[in-house]
Assembly symmetry: D2
Homo-oligomer: 367 residues x 4
């Protein structure tokens, strides 16, 4: 269970990190959408390992094959899109010693506790590799949002370890974000982050950080009151990502330090639109988007795989030592940027479909 | 949409703050569970307004009526439980002036944008009153968890505005938490919080804060990989609560400041069980509970209703001033404690049912 | 489980036949729909027992209370509609003897097998009383369909026991159907059916029959391929009704006796529309409505409650005799007509919302 | 939408008949189940075209590839199983002329009406080819049922056109069913059916028929009251199959001709079990299995593809003539047998998981 996401735009993902491949079935995609496969590939490239020396050196071609759902001229058919990405780098030998010993802060122990079995090589489904399927699906969601609403989803690295980039006055351009392998658009901070990540790598250690994401152009009216609030579904989507430990919408935890009179966003008129003077709400009020940029932050812990000796136990509970060998990813933040965007896009597109189903005028359908 | 929660233990809530009443239908409750109605009422009493001078003085008897699902001798039947709480204090006149002007950081504007209509009196469904239905359902979930797992859910107020209570060395007792109207178990901090809330009240202002919640006894194996991770569903449940702005599991945002070698929780053997030496994971690894206490924090912004003049616009976008009158809730934190617990219990009970469906041995059913 | 129906227009029903009441929560209803409460009451009146001497004499006022979801001026708010119908005739004494003995072809035994407990008085949830909540929800669905599509749902009794009414050349009017307490629009057949039902009643026996239902005006495009075909969801909805044993769409079982060349519906042009010359498809092709009338039949077995001595066993499996006393319903068909219509309307309205969510042009939302 | 089935054992299928391939993702499969791939292949072979001269001569190797969810030693991991079947015979040229003209009683017109686009070659998703994914998933469900309950699902052809096989006194063996290419276990009837199908084929015409299915060993307690009755979910599953027009459980439409006193199934004691003397209920009472064999019938219309000239219209509504060329399937019944079994097994396994989630004793889980 737990491998299907969404209510109207529903995705089912599959695949272990060291099996034949991973992939996704997307059910509910609107028809007649040009499936820009180059864009899907570009998004996958942003997630791919080995982009720079800051991330894991696992080699993955990430060639995506479209198994269904697209017409001969590249338009979606309204039927399920199925996307398959073959695994090419299936080196499992480095994991041999992990079969017996539980890697600290990995899912080895909990998988055993739950299922009584697990794919020992490479973490199976509890692997960052699984997120490639999300990025592929998220690319489709981005195409929907762009065409339907003109909306864009932009994430970037805001902090790595204790290095914080200043908050930019406006949403950075894609070029600014992609300029550094850190995906931090602030040049000075990016340089320091690079150094910190390299330092962690050289010590066989790892660092975490925070990603900020802004959705522009979603308009007012997306989300719903009570259980499926837009921020609730965003929070779920973000906390469903490996290594995440926290989520903030708008003012977040810092907002708890303000008085109500300081925190409230005054409504003002700007041109023909009603807007807010500030955006501590993060673009969502009462669970529904208010037309301001939707803005949230996601905390990623330092990667659990470190190349240092760690104390642990084996499956029988016997104390042992474990030293991971081989490739390791000293910082997932740069690669997590497109993953955060993908999940945000999936949530938004789903809510957009839900909203128009319920709330468009009850007029006779023109067919 | 958006008023149904859960996959196996499913609840559907209804009701506006100033209509005839609010309530909940609970589908999927296991049969033969003694429905301890006194406990349900006690939980509702913890959420009820007017408990102390720290919260809104709205009077609500919150008498719960069981409409279905229980046998003559008080056992659940396995059929839907329906619980109805009549509204008794339906004073809507104080809201008259809010019909035209959008209250800042309320849902007035977004409801209009989405639905083109709203129940103007008292916020309709975008009201804290809606949470009483959650508390009633959560009480049933707590009864399930207690009986099935011996698990308990305990929340308390950790901070109000800029006053932080020290983190206790072990989970506080119910008595310690209920000892102060703030529901902060640290006496010194509680006293300062009380003063701060009264001060906000006297100024017609409001304050927010943070609630910490710990689930003990859930055992290992609850939750699932990928989309329905236990922390993901907890995050969604928490961010579905009014006024919440953030969620942290385990080390949260602070954990991003640690190195991987500092953050990892070493496995150790304690008696017959495999446990972790530390709990930065917050009791969940790979989306699945590991048997340690499940621990998370929730940020609540200061209440949007303040008795100070605020700038806003009317429905036509024309600038105007708004001063709320009458009752106001200077701090929702104390009343939010049982609500946080209720949503946590609903998530846990749902995942417990899901887990035993899939993962119990495939033995022939003993019937 | 199993008490929630629909994907976008979702209803959750509750209530035992002899508890405080029954009701329904409707989530996902479009906003700004005038809730014609007189119509809801009229639909409930068509289902109510005691309409004529052909049905059970149980007295039920079926007064419906709207607990939420409607504005002061009677428009839906887009939030959940909750409708409550109090039970007024809670005579349970006639059921006393049924506590021990399993009534043949009732749900007594299976409820015990599944839940290990049941509400012994009046059948609990396994009672025709439960369908009142469906009729109330179905009335709302009819209002949606009428306003959105101009679509109508019309059912009538086509056969009772071995008396078959001839198939009318066009869909009968409501007046023609309601003219006879049998709800068979063919006068001659209706008279014979009346006599047959009275004869069964006088013998303490019961009869079944077939209801035909036609949906006009739904237009082309509702439904979806593969699992959620329109006829599949209609079949599920019909077989979810108490006492149903069969479902046919279009040509049904008789269609299996035709050659393909006889069965196919030729496409023809009628005015500006593409239509079919015949309608053996029953208005659905490939799971999707084709604009022709959607036409199906539902088989209802004779009621299980008969006032004749029957052999059975008690809970311990010991053979015993059972003779039901008191009220009994010799034929459910007349009262089942509005229930069939209600479920059909709920399915259609749900699919209409689903269709417009996915398939309206991907244009920017006009807000 | 509409390509995901089930609540706990959920399958998502994908694939067009003439695209790269078709497949299924199975989420929720219990872990540690030996995935008997030879059995999956054998089931697919029973559905495969070209088994005999009675069915279409389309050549499909139907080689299934397991993309995920299985351990190195062939046990399910509890994570999604993904099964891919490549299309090998993608001859689309025979369909060229169908691009413009709507084939009578096919989904060409309704797909266009709904999606405004369709995969013209081979019917796209509205093709019998899609059912291979269901058979693969159904094979997994059968393995679950066999291991968990010892339950078996057996279907066979009961009638073809106007040739009815007598109802056997007990459930036929697999050998008896597979003995004839018709999958009718009655030798005399099978011979006549064969002749009738060959006759239809020689005339370029087609015939339909009825399949009967019996589930033995499911035990009592599966299913649920109200919306998700076991027969309701079976009816939906069957009517979701291409070419189906009707469903009957137990006594079905014929049962409406009986009096209640004739129809009721008397409870009797047989050994230690409570059983019924007759089984007009078809193994389900009040929506829940009663331990008797679950027995239902499904009507399949004659195939829409006939090699005779038919009147139709083109996309613009202009009258035209259409004569299908090439391969055609004069009778789908023999190949539909494993498909009916597959869908029945999926429904049963899902309900078995649902039942044990809710109704096992609330005892502490042994971990």
């Amino acid at each position: 269970m737990g491998n299907i996401h969404g209510h109207l735009l529903r995705i089912a993902t599959f695949g272990e990190s060291h099996g034949p491949g991973i992939g996704v079935v997307i059910d509910g995609c609107p028809p007649r959408l040009p499936l820009d496969l180059a864009f899907v590939r570009a998004e996958l490239a942003r997630r791919r390992p080995g982009q720079s020396d800051l991330t894991t050196q696992r080699k993955e071609a990430d060639e995506v094959e479209v198994l269904s759902g697209v017409s001969a001229d590249g338009l979606t058919l309204g039927t399920p899109l199925a996307l398959l990405i073959r695994n090419t780098d299936q080196r499992g030998s480095a994991y041999a010693e992990m079969r017996a010993a539980y890697r600290p802060s990995h899912a080895d122990f909990t998988y055993d506790a739950k299922y009584g079995i697990r794919a020992v090589e490479g973490g199976g489904r509890a692997s960052a590799r699984e997120t490639a399927a999300r990025v592929a699906a998220g690319a489709v969601a981005k195409l929907i949002l762009r065409r339907a609403l003109g909306a864009t989803v932009t994430a970037w690295v805001e902090s790595v370890h204790d290095i914080d980039a200043p908050r930019p006055s406006k949403v950075p351009t894609a070029a600014a974000i992609e300029a550094s392998p850190t995906r931090c658009p602030d040049k000075a901070a990016a340089a320091r982050m690079e150094a910190r990540i390299r330092e962690a790598r050289s010590r066989g250690d790892s660092v975490g950080g925070v990603i900020r994401c802004v959705i522009e152009g979603a308009g007012a009216g997306l989300g719903s009151p009570v259980f499926d609030r837009l921020e609730a579904d965003l929070a779920k989507a973000m906390l469903s990502l490996p290594a995440t430990k926290g989520f903030e919408i708008g003012s977040g935890f810092a907002g708890t330090r303000l008085m109500g009179s300081e925190h409230n966003d005054a409504f003002v008129r700007k041109g023909a639109r009603i807007r807010t003077a500030t955006n501590r709400s993060g673009g969502i009020q009462g669970g529904i988007s208010n037309g301001e940029p939707i803005e949230f932050r996601v905390a990623f812990k330092p990667t659990a795989t470190v190349l240092l000796e760690q104390a642990t136990v084996d499956r029988a509970g016997k104390p042992t030592k474990l030293t991971a060998r081989g490739r390791h990813d000293p910082c997932v933040l740069p690669r997590a940027v497109p993953i955060v965007e993908a999940m945000a896009a999936l949530v938004l597109a789903d809510h957009w479909l839900r909203d128009r189903a319920q709330n468009l005028p009850l007029a006779r359908r023109a067919r």
